[in-house]
């Protein structure tokens, strides 16, 4: 952050906190929507477990972001080193693939299975792609019921690719929101020049302020409208843009141009 006087810094931090809180509000329902989409798609593909892995850092590592199934909770936040396992390969190659007999290899899957107590036998993995960039991997593991399982069919692979498209948009929205949040936390956490207690008090004051609360309420409202459907979203966007245009015409500042 460039050197700045106290007032300016306070203003900037205030803006940052608002962003962080909005990002938090936005990311939480995103992961819930992801889980819901996983449930629907897994049911469609008659698969027992489904998970979303997203990139972690820039070296191709992955991390479980959302999962459903018996060991879902244990999977969350487990990391997959770059290129490891089917997911790692799909991430780095962009090629979807299905394996119908994962078997007992001493690979990444046996490590994860040892951690979770699960037995991976079949995998369908497809890349999550947004604007040509691979941002993660969507995986379906095993069938419902008892083995032997029917292999995933090419039609199911195509269907998974369609679900992957929807899931990729959610993951992208999650990543954008998280980027804001991480950035804000880094700026606040990394600045040793400030008294932590003072910053914390100030934060508390800000979060308790009516202005801030009203803004959070507005964010929740927008989220609620957006979840109602395309028509509601379009209407909401056009109303909000009109408000901004009106506001622009009256003042010199616009939040869009910051």
């Amino acid at each position: 952050m460039p050197p700045t006087d106290g007032t300016n810094l306070e203003e900037k931090l205030g803006r940052l906190i608002e962003t962080i809180d909005v990002a938090n509000i936005l990311t939480e329902p995103l992961t819930r929507s992801l889980t819901r989409l996983l449930e629907i798609s897994a049911s469609e593909l008659n698969s027992e477990e489904a998970s979303v892995l997203i990139r972690e850092g820039s070296d191709g590592d992955l991390r479980f972001l959302a999962a459903i199934g018996k060991v879902a909770e244990q999977l969350i936040n487990i990391k997959v080193p770059a290129g490891k396992g089917i997911a790692g390969f799909v991430m780095s190659s962009g090629q979807p693939m299905a394996v119908s007999d994962v078997g007992e290899e001493t690979s990444f899957y046996s490590e994860v299975d040892r951690t979770t107590g699960y037995s991976t036998q079949m995998i369908l993995a497809t890349p999550l792609s947004h604007n040509g960039e691979i941002i993660g991997v969507l995986e379906y593991i095993n069938r419902r019921g008892t083995p032997p399982f029917e292999p995933f069919s090419p039609v199911e692979m195509d269907r998974a690719a369609l679900f992957a498209e929807a899931i990729a948009s959610l993951v992208n929205a999650y990543e954008s929101a998280k980027l804001f949040r991480d950035f804000g936390e880094r700026v606040l956490g990394g600045d040793g020049g400030h008294d932590v207690g003072l910053v914390r008090d100030w934060l508390h004051k800000l979060r308790g302020s009516d202005d801030h609360r009203e803004m959070m309420d507005l964010a929740v409202l927008v989220r609620e409208v957006a979840s109602r459907g395309d028509a509601e979203r379009d209407l909401c966007r056009s109303i909000l843009e009109s408000v901004l245009r009106y506001s622009d015409s009256r003042t010199d500042t616009s939040y869009l141009s910051l």
Partner: protein, 269 residues
């Protein structure tokens, strides 16, 4: 003589002057140099022992990609799987591994392009590309590389991507051979669908093939259709080593005509 015969066409509209003899069916790909740009190859796998004549791997050196001799094998299993399919169809071809996946600090697309360029510079007669990219920024560099391959007489075979968006290079139909999976079980029974973005179909569903740790896996994906066509091309090239990419494509077209009627529709249609 019916109208089709008068026009010199067979029953599916292929001109009869494109004829290819059946000698390729008994060929083994002997002497044909085949590069696999992938995750490496496990050269110790019983199915591949003695069949992989060399391995290199990408490394980043002050923002440039260089290739060093590699003894690290396969990092994912995928390259070994592709090599296994080629070796089954053309057991006497000379496989060469160009490892572009699994190298630390390398962007996927950059290593992929460098691997293809390396294969073209080394004049490998057939290049297996079971990888792809949808990154728009790679469109032009890949196009240039494929033109260079075509002019150098290298036959590049690429797997189509299963994603709803076009992937590169599989959509470049003029300068390479792109393949999508079919449920066909006979490894030699492939199809040619002129006019479709991805022209060739080959077996790619539940293919049992070598994997890491001397094991085997049953795999589904366009990645595994691609090496089937590579194997068939290696057989053709054993018989006719000087075939150009254009002639190879014509030959595949003619053979697919013979296969027609036996081949199933591609699954992704």
């Amino acid at each position: 003589m019916d109208l089709e015969q008068q026009l010199g066409q067979d029953s599916v509209g292929r001109p009869s002057f494109v004829n290819i003899d059946d000698e390729w069916r008994s060929a083994t790909g002997s002497g044909v140099r085949v590069a696999i740009v992938d995750s490496g190859i496990d050269v110790s796998h019983p199915e591949l022992k003695g069949r992989v004549v060399g391995s290199v791997e990408a490394r980043l050196e002050s923002s440039r990609v260089v290739f060093d001799p590699s003894a690290s094998g396969d990092s994912a299993g995928h390259g070994t799987a592709c090599a296994g399919i080629i070796a089954k169809i053309a057991p006497d071809c000379k496989l060469f591994s160009i490892k572009v996946l699994g190298a630390a600090g390398l962007g996927d697309g950059q290593a992929f392009l460098a691997g293809l360029e390396f294969a073209i510079k080394e004049r490998f007669k057939v290049i297996n590309l079971s990888l792809g990219t949808t990154k728009p920024q790679f469109f032009n560099p890949l196009h240039d590389l494929l033109d260079r391959a075509y002019q150098a007489g290298c036959i590049v075979v690429a797997a189509a991507n299963n994603l709803p968006h076009p992937s590169f290079p599989s959509v470049f139909s003029s300068s390479l051979i792109s393949v999508i999976k079919s449920s066909e079980t006979d490894p030699l029974n492939f199809g040619f669908h002129f006019g479709q973005v991805i022209e060739l179909t080959a077996p790619g569903v539940n293919i049992r093939t070598p994997w890491l740790e001397k094991g085997y896996r049953t795999l589904t994906g366009n990645s595994f259709a691609c090496p089937h066509i590579v194997g068939i091309i290696a057989r053709l090239l054993e018989r006719y080593p000087d075939m150009t990419p254009f002639q190879v494509k014509s030959a595949l077209y003619a053979i697919a005509g013979e296969n027609q009627g036996r081949i199933e529709s591609p699954e992704a249609d």
